[in-house]
Symmetry: D2
Subunit: 174 residues, 4 copies
């Protein structure tokens, strides 16, 4: 059984942040995602990496969101699924932009991110990446966020900030 060819667009965000010990701060470094991928046993997908940008999502411009959505749309035409690793703060802006630009794509497009960087012991990055890499294989075509053991469809998914996870718009925090 052949593996599915999946495009993986990286854009930065908390998931890829590392620690600068001389300055004592966290910053974004691109190779973290490769370390994460190497730590997983991937029998279902073959990853095609697209390093698009490397930004804290709070610093993304409107043009950045459009660029990510257009790139995902193009890659959806020639792959069996698209994954987007994205900062959670404005992930929903890119999600809604994808809906606007693509309506229903040919294949599943799954966004994911993390609240705690991979370099932390208690990171949620591996869980979320693992989920997105599985969800992209079995979901119907559409635009989704997969994180924290949950898949939500765009339009209508939003970050619940006090809880630090995604919910359906209008849902009360639990």
């Amino acid at each position: 059984m052949a593996k599915l060819r999946i495009a993986l667009i990286s854009t930065g965000g908390t998931i890829e942040k590392t620690y600068d010990e001389l300055r004592g701060v966290l910053h974004n470094e691109i190779h973290v995602l490769d370390v994460m991928l190497a730590s997983l046993q991937l029998e279902g997908v073959e990853i095609v990496r697209e390093r698009l940008m490397n930004k804290d999502s709070l610093e993304m411009s409107d043009g950045d969101h459009t660029l990510i959505a257009e790139t995902a749309g193009s890659l959806a035409g020639i792959h069996e699924g698209v994954l987007i690793v994205h900062g959670t703060d404005t992930l929903e802006v890119t999600g809604e932009r994808l809906v606007t630009l693509l309506a229903t794509p040919r294949v599943p497009i799954v966004l994911t991110g993390a609240m705690r960087p991979y370099v932390m012991r208690n990171t949620d990055a591996l869980q979320n990446l693992t989920e997105a890499l599985l969800a992209v294989q079995i979901l119907d075509p559409g635009i989704y966020v997969a994180m924290h053991n949950k898949v939500l469809r765009f339009p209508g998914a939003t970050k619940q900030r006090t809880k630090g996870t995604f919910v359906r718009s209008g849902d009360k925090p639990t």
Copy 2:
């Protein structure tokens, strides 16, 4: 949005093995699965634990496989999904038994396990449990194994022993 109520049947297997430092061997201990569950952020499912047995799957009798399948069948009637944590060596025996007894269940029944115990640094246990906990929410009703970034349906999934992962029966190792 309410969480899905999922039954989690534990049966033992490599995934739950721990190390006995005084004897220098690995053995099965039940609470490992609880530690794993606590390390994940579960926003999609509410877990109902069913500690059925705690065996290396090579030591399961024919009656054990039937007992697991019957228990899963019963729990499928009153939950929105069933997960079975199982040793990989005879996981497919339970998978095929489920097909024989239940044909198509009311909800997804997902088996998973691990090649390297959770207590190992390079374990695949968390990856596989994470995948099973997501797959059970989005798959159609049926009987599956979810492991190593892949979901396979029973009948017809089998352990490829030299590679240490599951494939479709008849597939050549890659």
Copy 3:
């Protein structure tokens, strides 16, 4: 053979920093040191904890350094060794203050810290704490920093900032 009674003064610093996922920053939280101690097998010492302050050492006042030194001096009178967990940026100020106030103490006083917080996967915190907890048992009375597989005596130890470790004053970076 009885364990040695060792006083452990915590003052904060990078070693104890944790990650605030809602704000995306690192901050100091006191219980990290207890988690670290619980992860070690301590057959040589019995720890008496003294939670003195919880500061980034760049924010310590001159009075803070004196307070730490005086507290260590008092505890040195009634324990078989004293450990001080301290931010590395001004660790040497406290080290030299100890020399000024105590000259040669009755028992070893060992300072340690970390360049990468314990919550990071690649932390040096456990290595340094492990070293300090052993060094305090076998060094002669005196004032030391133990970190990164090295013990240096005060006066004369200083942080080599570009390399992120301690050296003898006047030593060139290697």
Copy 4:
């Protein structure tokens, strides 16, 4: 300040055991020690590796113990310290053999090992190796075991089997 040149004799033992996922057992593999060394920040010593054998110490012959002791004696003549990584079950046989053959060596000879392999999450291997790598720099010439936050001198150190750590011969378990 130059680093001390330390000889590190590896002989196998639990500390280096890895997991064979296809057979489900633990076995000895030599490169684990290199992974451990790479994970530590070693500013005090320069390591000269001597891969002497790779055995479970229960399987060492009398000749093996003599070979290890003689090798350590030779290396003690041309290094500033000697470390021996050894299975704990017969570590004391090698320790006493060193005393018989060398009486007081020119430099410190420190034995260490582990109760739980490095590949386990809750290993004591890194703690023990860290301690031995520091102790060898500050101890007087002699023959020692360093493990579990404690340094004991040969002759007279022995493994307390029910507790899984080393004590002075004749000491009661605590």
